[in-house]
Every structure is written in structure tokens, then in C-alpha cells.
């Protein structure tokens, strides 16, 4: 799976996710990538989310929308909401994977519960930061 989330200079949010899938999946099987509210979600009032992982679990727990709901109704900040869903909810039921998310303030989270996630982030300083495994982001100018 690949995905992106963004907050632009006007404070608007967007999310995009493309083509997940496990090797040798059943023909016709659709994962969470194209399911709005599971692998993809964006709402200016809360956050934008793109997920990658065990799609069936991400769908059953409406991962993207659940993160947004924690911001909207539970008063959690982005990192609390993402950690709560990815680590506390999805992982115990076999939902290995991760999400990238950005909220209305521009705060971001790159969180996963497995060995790694190909990930990166850039903000207004223009520094491209990337990582693969459980390691700090590497800066590239």
C-alpha cells in the first residue's frame, strides 16, 4: 500500500491511499485502502489518515474514522488518538500495520505496530525526513 496525507497553507486536509494487498490474495478481495473511513479519511475539523496493514481488521474497526472520532469527541490529541487505535485497538486483534495522519494544526503521526513502515514527512522547513524500521527519521536537505 502507498498513501499520503497533507495539510495545506489554508488549513485544509486531504488523504489518498492506493492499492494495498497481500501477495496471492484471493481474487476479488478488497482491503482497507479504498474503503472510506477504514484506510482513508479526511475531514478539516479533525484529521486526515491513510492506513496500511491487515485490511480486514482496519475495515472492521473503521480505523481512520475511529482516529478522527477520538479527536472530535474524546478530546484526544493526534498522537494519543493514533496510538490508541493502532497500538491499543488494532494490534491486540491481529491488525498489524500502521497509519500516517495529520491534524488541523499540522501535527503529524507516523505510527505502526509491526517491524516497520516505509514512511516520510516534510513540513514548511523543506527538510525531507524518511525512515523504514523502528528508527529515527533521517533528514535530507
Amino acid at each position: 500500500t502507498v498513501g499520503a496525507v497533507a495539510r495545506d497553507r489554508n488549513g485544509h486536509l486531504a488523504a489518498a491511499t492506493s492499492t494495498g494487498g497481500m501477495t496471492a490474495k484471493a481474487p476479488g478481495r478488497v482491503g482497507d485502502s479504498p474503503v472510506i473511513g477504514a484506510g482513508t479519511w479526511a475531514d478539516d475539523e479533525t484529521c486526515a489518515v491513510s492506513g496500511t496493514g491487515h485490511g480486514e481488521i482496519f475495515i472492521r474497526y473503521a480505523a481512520g474514522h475511529e482516529i478522527a472520532s477520538r479527536l472530535r469527541y474524546a478530546g484526544q490529541n493526534l498522537q494519543q488518538a493514533v496510538h490508541g487505535v493502532v497500538v491499543d485497538v488494532l494490534a491486540p486483534v491481529g491488525g498489524s500495520g500502521g497509519v500516517i495522519a495529520v491534524d488541523r494544526s499540522g501535527a503529524f503521526s507516523l505510527t505502526f505496530n509491526c517491524s516497520g513502515m516505509y514512511r516520510g514527512v516534510v513540513t514548511g522547513d523543506g527538510v525531507l525526513r524518511t525512515a523504514i524500521y523502528d528508527e529515527p527519521l533521517v533528514d535530507f536537505r
Binding site: T1, V2, G3, A4, V5, A6, R7, D8, H12, A14, A15, A16, T17, S18, T19, G20, G21, M22, T23, A24, K25, P27, G28, V30, S33, P34, V35, I36, T40, A42, D43, D44, A48, S50, T52, G53, S96, G97, V99, I100, V102, G106, A107, L110, C114, S115, G116, M117, Y118, R119, G120, V121, V122, T123, G124, G126, L128, I132, Y133, F140
Partner: protein, 172 residues
């Protein structure tokens, strides 16, 4: 200011299979996607255009599981899906179960912008893409040795009754 984050999938390849060259290629691929979106945002562009540009770059990259790096089904064919959502008004578009569009995210965006629907699948999704000028590629464009070999290994493992512990195959 602006923020853009990208991912190229979770369940990365095993550390024991990672080489310095391969690791550098993954970082470079991620940086290309970030830069594609950063240029849009730094120029005052919209978040929806930025995520489209970033995901297109990742779809073009065979290293990651997307259009050109799409995994195979057990039938030896590829199926693609994608979704996009605009936080301004919750406009959304998605496609699934198709193979052909060079960039599946553009197909999803076309559904969002040029139809009354949110989700199109199968043959009618393909017809919709053709009617709306989405670029297509032959099946050979989407073939990669890495994905094909992974399919053969996985099918062989299933036949032998073995269990696959490689997260990169489970998550693409």
C-alpha cells in the same frame, strides 16, 4: 505552514534481506514522493493536489505496492484499488478490482470529481476511467520480477503447508 506525510506500506522486508543499496533505494523513493507533494504545497497548492502528486510518484515506483508494484492475486493477476478524500467537504472517490490505469489514484479522483458516486468497481469502473481520459498501461507495465517471485514463493509455501512469516508479503 504545511505538512505532508507519506507511507510506502507497513510490514517492511526482513532486516536480514535488506542491503545498503536496497535501503538507499527505499529512502530515495520516499523522498521523491515527499518532494512531489512539497513542491505543490510550497507553491500555495491544495492538500488534495499534494496527496495526489505524492501518491502518483509512489505508484510509479516498483519498490512499493501500488500501481506498478501491485501484488498478484492467487490467480496470477493484479487488481488495483485506491481512494482519495478531501477534508474541505468530505468529497471522496474510490475504485477497486481493476487493472489498467497507470495511476489508480487518478481513477479514484475522477470518481470524486466527475461522478455522483463515491465507489466504483470492476468493468464499469474501467469504462468510467476510459470515458474520463485516464491513462492506461498494458499488463506488462505492471509486471515486476520481485512481485512475481513473491507470488511463486507464497504459492509454493501454501502447497507445502508452510506458514509465511514475512510481513512484506502479507502487507505488500
Amino acid at each position: 505552514d504545511f505538512t505532508l506525510a507519506v507511507h510506502g506500506g507497513a510490514g517492511t522486508i526482513l532486516r536480514t534481506k535488506m542491503t545498503p543499496e536496497r535501503e538507499a533505494a527505499y529512502h530515495a523513493g520516499l523522498r521523491r514522493a515527499l518532494e512531489a507533494g512539497r513542491v505543490v504545497l510550497a507553491d500555495g497548492g491544495t492538500a488534495i493536489d499534494a496527496v495526489t502528486a505524492a501518491v502518483m510518484t509512489l505508484e510509479d515506483e516498483p519498490l512499493f505496492n501500488a500501481g506498478r508494484g501491485a501484488v498478484y492475486t492467487s490467480a496470477g493477476l493484479q487488481e488495483m484499488d485506491a481512494a482519495i478524500m478531501d477534508g474541505r467537504d468530505r468529497a471522496a472517490g474510490a475504485i477497486a478490482g481493476i487493472c489498467g490505469p497507470r495511476n489508480p489514484i487518478l481513477a479514484a479522483r475522477a470518481v470524486m470529481e466527475k461522478s455522483d458516486h463515491v465507489f466504483l468497481i470492476g468493468d464499469n469502473a474501467l469504462n468510467f476511467c476510459r470515458q474520463n481520459g485516464i491513462a492506461f498501461e498494458d499488463a506488462s507495465y505492471f509486471f515486476t520480477d520481485q512481485r512475481w517471485d513473491a507470488l511463486q514463493e507464497t504459492l509454493a509455501m501454501r502447497r507445502s503447508g508452510g506458514e509465511d512469516h514475512d510481513e512484506s508479503r502479507k502487507h505488500g
